[in-house]
């Protein structure tokens, strides 16, 4: 087709810019100028100013999602923990090896039966609003968690408490419903809030958090940033940073790009993909600590064949879990788990559990499945259903499903989000599912009791009620001395992983963070949460 204008105005010279004539160049120029000016003008003149390092004394940290709450009463997400751990303090502070050490409580004692615990509160500690921290604040902080009307996620951590009393302004007496020797580990997870401020702000305390920690709250802009500043009046710590900005960046590759371009200083909890992006980058330090968060494949045992231990063994023998974990996780991100509990949390029974772990044996798996089918325990056309979240666990689940198919069993994988998954785990259906649970607490009771004792959330997912196990778990939390308790926890782990196979232990998540070398004194901790200022490490920026 010929251009129409030429047939009408043969005299027009396209390509020239004579007065009043619109030429192709004109249009191209307009396109280039109007569109590109907007972008280029914003880019070129300030090239040298793009995203350089923040001013001295400001630390910028990328988090994978926005915080939910800054009131320790309500929150079950790591980003919130990491922020309010800097604002609020605890009676006992877990040290580098997760052992609770005196902090706001100068010392503590227990009655011989471990039912009454007395904490002496440090004098001279003040909240950010200037109010003194006393036993009343401690009592208030614990009572509000224990009040069922508040439906706090933390109630299950301390629901062995019968009552909390402020014996005098600096002494707190806590009476338990039963003997509970690991109580210091439980109390080391609870933060002390200001009673006066919490009552003043009510449910808006989460937007106006007043604590006693080394950093105080400045502002929180939803999905944009949380800003904290140094508390110059802290009773002990001298933070090395003036200001901390937490920036929620949900897309991992964007967070990595921000670190590379100098937009943030620390990126937490690297995934395999982000790690590959950052591993060889200049001006990026990567640090790894072996984590203790325990990932497992659980059996929801509603009816046969899932309720039959032979079936669970056959599933376990169908696949090569070692190879799957090694293929899916780079060493910095995760490693194979053979036990629920990993060092430095005790007891360390890894060697024994590893030597007895079920290894891949397709012939044996096929034989067991055939035996179960022959006995009518498992219908011949039975389909094993596996559900997984859409993350790295989905890849492990794919390996499991294809391995099951290779030994001649039907298996399907449903990839879903957490809300749907938790919903499915309350239905009357058999499932194999993958979750991360326990492992990160300082005392084995806090992992094993909640993972396996009847009535807890995880046993509900497993549809588990095992009186032998319940009895051991109860004895272990009431026993004294690490040796006696270690023996019981060793028995418990062998029972659930080798004898009854309620879980296939899969992996521990390591804690791998990346940071700009201008950040000093920073290192990942064993758990996903960490403090910017502690007696043993102070983070600073140059």
């Amino acid at each position: 087709m010929e251009p129409r204008d030429r047939t009408v105005r043969p005299g027009d010279r396209y390509g020239a810019t004579t007065g009043g004539v619109v030429t192709r160049r004109d249009f191209l120029r307009t396109a280039a100028v109007t569109g590109a000016t907007l972008t280029a003008s914003a880019m070129v003149p300030w090239r040298w100013a793009a995203a350089g390092p923040a001013p001295r004394g400001v630390l910028r940290i990328a988090t994978y999602q926005d915080i939910s709450q800054l009131d320790p009463l309500r929150s079950n997400d790591t980003p919130s923990f990491v922020v309010y751990d800097q604002i609020f303090e605890r009676l006992l502070l877990p040290d580098e090896k997760m052992q609770p050490t005196p902090w706001l409580a100068e010392r503590f004692t227990s009655s011989p039966d471990a039912k009454v615990w007395t904490f002496s509160i440090r004098k001279g500690v003040t909240f950010h609003d200037g109010g003194a921290l006393t036993a009343e604040d401690v009592k208030f902080s614990l009572d509000r968690i224990l009040d069922p009307a508040n439906a706090s996620q933390k109630r299950s951590q301390i629901d062995m408490i019968e009552r909390v009393e402020a014996a005098d302004p600096y002494t707190v007496k806590i009476t338990l419903k039963y003997s509970y020797s690991p109580f210091p580990a439980a109390i080391a997870q609870q933060h002390v809030v200001s009673k006066a401020a919490a009552q003043k702000f009510g449910d808006q305390y989460t937007k106006n958090p007043v604590g006693s920690g080394p950093f105080r709250f400045v502002d929180w802009v939803t999905n944009d940033r949380v800003t904290l500043e140094r508390n110059p009046k802290h009773w002990s710590l001298k933070p090395g940073i003036d200001r901390v900005i937490f920036r929620p960046i949900p897309e991992a590759s964007t967070a990595a790009a921000e670190l590379l371009s100098g937009g943030v200083d620390i990126v937490q909890s690297l995934s395999a993909g982000t790690l590959a992006q950052l591993r060889n980058a200049p001006n990026v330090t990567i640090g790894t600590t072996q984590g203790t968060s325990y990932g497992f494949f659980g059996f929801r045992m509603v009816r046969p064949p899932f309720t039959d231990v032979r079936f669970r063994e056959a599933v376990y023998r169908s696949w090569n879990l070692d190879a799957a974990v090694n293929a899916v996780f780079p060493p910095e991100v995760g490693r194979r788990a053979y036990a629920v509990i990993s060092p430095p949390i005790w007891p360390d029974d890894t060697a024994y559990l590893k030597s007895r772990a079920y290894t891949q044996d397709p012939q044996r798996a096929r034989a067991i499945f055939n035996e179960l089918m022959g006995a009518g325990v498992m219908p011949r056309d039975y389909t094993i259903r596996v559900i997984s979240l859409p993350d790295v666990r989905a890849r492990l689940s794919e390996v499991l499903v294809s391995s099951l198919q290779q030994v001649g069993v039907r298996a399907t994988l449903q990839i879903t989000d957490l809300a749907t998954m938790l919903n499915l785990l309350r239905t009357e259906e058999n499932y194999i599912y993958s979750l991360v649970g326990g492992g990160g607490a300082p005392d084995p009771d806090q992992s094993l009791y909640w993972l396996f004792h009847t009535g807890g959330p995880h046993p509900t997912f497993l549809n588990l009620s095992d009186p032998v196990l319940d009895n051991r778990l109860l004895r272990a939390r009431q026993a004294f001395g690490r040796e006696a308790r270690s023996r019981l926890y060793t028995d418990i782990q062998r029972h659930v992983l080798l004898e009854r196979i309620y879980h296939m232990p899969a992996y521990y998540l390591n804690n791998t963070h990346a940071w700009n070398p201008r950040v000093k004194g920073f290192a990942p901790s064993i758990v996903a949460r960490w403090n910017l200022a502690t007696p043993w490490a102070t983070v600073s920026v140059t």
């Binding site: 251009p3 939910s68 079950n76 009307a149 802009v221 960046i249």
Partner: protein
């Protein structure tokens, strides 16, 4: 004109009611319990029951809808399960950020698309036309998500020209402009592509009309003929397309905001969906629907201005 506006407004009401019912049902029919998500896998079953009661989730669905809609009419959108904050404050705190992002995307895409489309129409089958075709195919085919990540790595990481993510400040500030360029480019490319192609075809059609020939015969300059006589008449389908694309832009903003960690309403919606924060999701969608209806209303009102024949009809 007054009657025309009233008629348009009247049509908006049933659209709004219908969409709230659909949104409400879809959200509540999705599997997953907000109380379970909020308390996490470690929560005790009895705490889940208590929280469900607190949140009013134990009531029949019809009652929940009635309460929601009667409160919404009075301007009370409820409180977010997750943030424990008034939804109107959360939504109206983030909506302006999304509007500025979509507006910037719209401006960038129109500034590129109109000249490109016109140039292609004036010289069909020329290099400009082929270039615009190639750009259009690329614009439609390249996923926003991929383009966003590529822009970040090329412009922010390698060239270090612009920041990689976040909102640096208000749009009238230098930091604000520098932060909005990449997300607006990523978001606007799709619209740019479709508008450029539509402008081309629409212009080609109009350039063939007799009144254009008459205008040329009168001895008017090419610029006047193209801009005043051809473009103005070609604008109707373009404006319609742009108004429809605003919905797509808002949808695209959900992705773009996540990749660029832009604190807009799209990210709020994505997070609310994952957390089953029903009231927040309902609030976000309600406001988005109202915004979309308003945009369409404005477009309906713009038609008579562009083409007086519509006013007469």
């Amino acid at each position: 004109m007054g009657l025309y506006i009233l008629k348009r407004l009247g049509l908006a009401v049933p659209t709004l009611i219908g969409s709230t019912i659909i949104v409400f049902l879809l959200i509540h029919l999705a599997p997953g319990d907000p109380a379970v998500v909020y308390l996490g896998p470690d929560a005790r079953p009895e705490d889940v029951v208590t929280l469900r009661r607190h949140l009013g989730l134990d009531r029949p669905l019809a009652v929940q809808y009635w309460l929601y809609i009667t409160h919404a009419v009075q301007g009370d959108l409820g409180r977010s399960f997750y943030y424990k904050e008034e939804i109107s404050r959360l939504v109206f705190g983030t909506l302006p950020h999304t509007i500025e992002l979509t507006a910037a995307a719209l401006v960038i895409s129109l500034c590129l698309a109109l000249p490109l489309g016109i140039a292609a129409a004036l010289r069909p089958h020329s290099i400009v036309d082929y270039l615009s075709s190639a750009l259009a195919v690329a614009g439609v085919a390249i996923p926003v998500f991929w383009l966003a990540i590529m822009l970040i790595f090329v412009v922010a990481v390698h060239l270090q020209w612009l920041p990689a993510s976040g909102r640096g400040g208000p749009l009238w500030s230098l930091e604000g402009i520098r932060h909005i360029v990449l997300p607006a480019l990523a978001l606007g490319l799709g619209l740019m592509a479709s508008t450029a192609r539509l402008t081309r075809s629409s212009m080609l059609e109009v350039l063939d009309e007799e009144y254009v020939r008459t205008a040329r015969a009168k001895g008017l300059t090419a610029r006047t003929v193209t801009i005043r006589h051809a473009l103005r008449n070609a604008l109707i389908p373009i404006v319609t397309n742009v108004s429809l694309q605003v919905g797509l832009l808002l949808g695209g903003a959900f992705l773009t905001e996540t990749v660029f960690s832009w604190p807009g309403i799209g990210r709020l919606a994505v997070d609310a969906m994952v957390r089953r924060d029903y009231p927040l999701l309902q609030g976000v969608l309600l406001v988005t629907i109202v915004f979309f209806i308003l945009v369409n209303l404005v477009v309906d009102l713009v038609y008579p201005v562009i083409d007086p024949r519509i006013r007469v009809r």
